[in-house]
């Protein structure tokens, strides 16, 4: 048997290595996305035997109707609160715990686990705990408020504050995860850089942070930002378990609306349109990450 030329053999090996994964991805990710994309132009009802083409009507409804707009603005508001708070607090906690390693390593480790607990716990189960804590008459929060002479609030059933309550729970859940990522970034900074900075006259805490820590954390920060953003856009569990989008759609978010339309109202066509919009947002975020990583966050 004649042997194939080297290049051809290489190509075969590559195909063999990449092929199965690619095929699986095409079958289980791209094909379904394609079907959903097609469905988003129809009025298909889940379980129905036929459907009609309605063009962009589903998209018009999402961006044009009061309900669709509310889901979008709610999601954007939620994201706008959660991203800066979760990233900022994550960084603060990580810096604190990192410095604490020098004088109280045991305590630092304990605190690290404590901050990571919300991440490890199931959010649905934690939501039930939050429900008890925030209960208008039985909850710890309101009882403390009353004890301090404050006015009790309906954290989950007042239309004007329910979204902020959910955002705080979202932050609580994300800080620990961001902290772990930042800690990993902090440990990876070579100590020589701090020595060099000190030699160059940057001895104070602030100047050390701005000249060494922050630039060196660039890639980590970007990664944390993107992860936090995708998670915030995906907010669902807390909404589904605590408020079901209510009261009166005050805490309706994009993914909850998608679930509601598709699986409660059975409007598969409209739900597909929401999915496509959601998909586009996540895709943009991912592409942004790639591009910025390529261009900016290098410190060579």
């Amino acid at each position: 048997m004649r042997r194939l030329p080297l290049a051809a053999r290489d190509a075969l090996t590559n195909t063999w290595l990449v092929g199965p994964a690619t095929l699986a991805m095409l079958m289980f990710i791209f094909l379904p996305v394609l079907i959903v994309a097609v469905l988003s132009f129809t009025d298909y009802q889940f379980g129905a035997r036929s459907f009609g083409w309605i063009g962009l009507e589903n998209y018009e409804k999402l961006f044009g109707s009061a309900l669709g707009r509310r889901a979008i603005t709610n999601t954007l508001l939620y994201v706008a609160i959660v991203i800066p708070a979760a990233v900022g607090l994550g960084l603060l906690v990580a810096l604190g715990l990192h410095r604490m390693m020098d004088w109280a390593p045991q305590l630092s480790n304990v605190l690290r686990s404590v901050y990571f607990l919300p991440v490890a716990a199931t959010l649905v189960a934690m939501s039930v705990a939050w429900q008890m804590v925030l209960h208008p008459s039985l909850g710890v929060v309101n009882q403390t408020l009353v004890g301090l002479g404050g006015e009790p609030r309906n954290w989950l059933s007042d239309r004007s504050i329910v979204l902020y309550t959910l955002a705080v729970i979202g932050i609580w859940q994300t800080v620990g995860y961001n902290m772990v990522l930042f800690l990993a970034g902090l440990v990876a900074i070579p100590p020589e850089l701090y020595d060099a900075a000190e030699v160059d006259g940057a001895g104070g805490n602030w100047s050390r942070f701005w000249t060494v820590t922050w630039p060196m954390l660039g890639p980590t920060t970007l990664f944390v930002l993107v992860i936090t953003a995708t998670n915030a856009f995906r907010v669902f569990e807390t909404v589904a378990t605590l408020t079901q989008g209510g009261p009166a759609f005050a805490s309706d978010t994009l993914v909850y609306a998608l679930y509601r339309e598709g699986f409660v109202y059975f409007k598969a066509g409209y739900a597909s349109a929401i999915t496509m919009v959601f998909f586009a947002v996540l895709l943009t975020l991912t592409l942004m990450q790639f591009r910025i990583v390529e261009r900016r966050v290098h410190y060579r």
Binding site: G47, Q131, H135, P136, S157, G246, P247, F263, V264, Y265
Partner: protein, 441 residues
């Protein structure tokens, strides 16, 4: 072919120490084959019926008991129970998926407000021919039949029922100077009492009702109103009855200090003993009684009726219904036997005793032999079940693709009314929105 070769090999191997081994193996094989055939013949006589149900936390044990009791009576029919769905919403989704894939079960328990989704897609088989003219004899009253009929066809039969009742905390009522023996039977009386309970303390609440389509429909029915005309061509809840019913949401807040609790918050407050009166589904009775424990004697009272003409009163009924889904004629017959059993007095007795739901069969209530002892031991159940027997009515599902979506709009309107929006304007706006969205205009 491979199997046979393998057997021959084994036979010759054995021949070394047991000359008859090969023959023995063949013999066993023949016997096994013969038994196999016999087994197939037996299962051909036994019809297998696949059953779908939801909410295993309430139904798992009951379903097993129903199947066992049924198969004892009908040894020729085998009941196979599918893995349950988490809730009725999940259940319907699964049935739709299975119908598309051609693997739908033969009969299914679905929510009383959801069988129309299946009917709409042609998945339910009417059972009128099986019932014939024996409805009364079998214990299906017109009120009970109305739960599962559409356009003159019986698509579903109720299997368990619940309506809106009042759960009362007698300790709080007495602290507020009220009396359980002389408990108010009008909404004015309830509001007055609730206001007194509410004044007992910061943590104590007088009354609560969910801002939700089903609760609103119940209040509407108590006022003698209907959500739609009979032919479902127009919305009718913007009538005087509807305005009064919706107005109660505002009166509860303004006059009795009702808090905007979510459903879960209220369901925690009642067993905790901080809520005086709660309008809720009678299906939660067992859970609330267990939650209250020995702390207070949780008492069930019927929802007050306002309409002068008691005939116009109805309470939309929650619970479950059973539908026939199979196309196969032999299976349909066997499946009907099962449906008749679970909706009949024997099946209903099992359901009532195990779930706490009200029965959907008149015979089982009328004939004390079935549940007399149960009601003596559970007076709260008697109150709830009597209300079902007297005033059960369909839980109106709005027609068409937007049918489920508009129920959330109704709930949102109740939130607005409770928070102080003008009742008349809000209800009339809501009715107009629904007419447009449901294509009635």
């Amino acid at each position: 072919m491979t199997v046979i070769t393998h057997l021959e090999e084994r036979g010759s191997n054995r021949a070394e120490f047991d000359p008859l081994g090969g023959i023995e193996t063949m013999k066993t094989l023949f016997i096994a084959a013969a038994f196999g055939l016999a087994a197939t013949a037996a299962s051909a006589e036994q019809t297998e019926i696949r059953v779908h149900y939801a909410i295993p936390t309430i139904w798992a044990e009951t379903q097993d008991k129903l199947a066992a009791a049924f198969m004892e009576k009908h040894p020729d029919i085998k009941i196979v129970i599918d893995g349950p769905a988490e809730g009725y919403a999940d259940g319907v989704q699964r049935l739709l998926r299975e119908a598309v894939a051609g693997t739908a079960p033969d009969v299914a328990y679905v929510g009383l407000n959801r069988w129309r989704i299946l009917e709409d897609r042609g998945l339910t088989k009417p059972v009128d021919d099986f019932i014939g003219d024996k409805a009364g004899e079998m214990g299906y009253t017109p009120a009970l039949l109305s739960l599962g009929s559409y356009e003159g066809k019986q698509h579903a039969l109720g299997t368990s029922a619940s309506t809106l009742v009042m759960y009362v905390n007698p300790t709080l009522v007495e602290q507020a100077g009220g009396s359980m023996d002389d408990f108010p039977t009008t909404y004015d009386g309830i509001i007055e009492l609730a206001a007194k309970i509410n004044a007992l303390g910061d943590n104590i609440d007088g009354v609560w009702i969910g801002r939700h389509d089903w609760r609103f429909q119940s209040l509407l029915g108590a006022h003698g109103g209907r959500p739609m005309t009979e032919d479902e061509s127009d919305i009718t809840f913007d009538s005087e009855a509807g305005l009064k019913a919706a107005g109660l949401y505002q009166r509860f807040v303004k006059e009795a200090g009702m808090k905007p609790y979510g459903q879960n918050e209220a369901r925690q407050a009642l067993p905790a003993g901080t809520l005086g009166i709660m309008f809720e589904s009678s299906s939660l009775q067992k859970r609330f009684e267990e939650g209250a424990g020995d702390a207070f004697e949780l008492t069930v009272k019927p929802t007050p009726i306002v309409a002068e003409d008691k005939e116009t009163v109805y309470f939309p009924t929650g619970g479950s219904a059973i539908v026939l889904m199979t196309d196969d004629e032999a299976k349909q017959k066997a499946a009907w036997e099962y449906i008749a059993f679970v909706t009949g007095p024997d099946g209903q007795k099992i359901i009532v005793e195990n779930t706490g739901y009200a029965p959907a069969n008149a015979k089982v209530i009328e004939d004390k032999a079935y549940l007399g002892a149960f009601y003596d031991a559970n007076p709260n159940s008697l109150v709830a079940h009597t209300q079902v027997a007297n005033h059960a009515g369909p839980w109106f599902a709005y027609p068409g693709a937007e049918g489920v979506a508009v129920t959330d709009l109704i709930a949102a309107a109740m939130v607005e009314i409770a928070e102080g929006a003008d009742t008349d304007a809000t209800v009339k706006d809501l009715a107009e929105t629904l007419r447009l969205q449901l294509g009635m205009k």
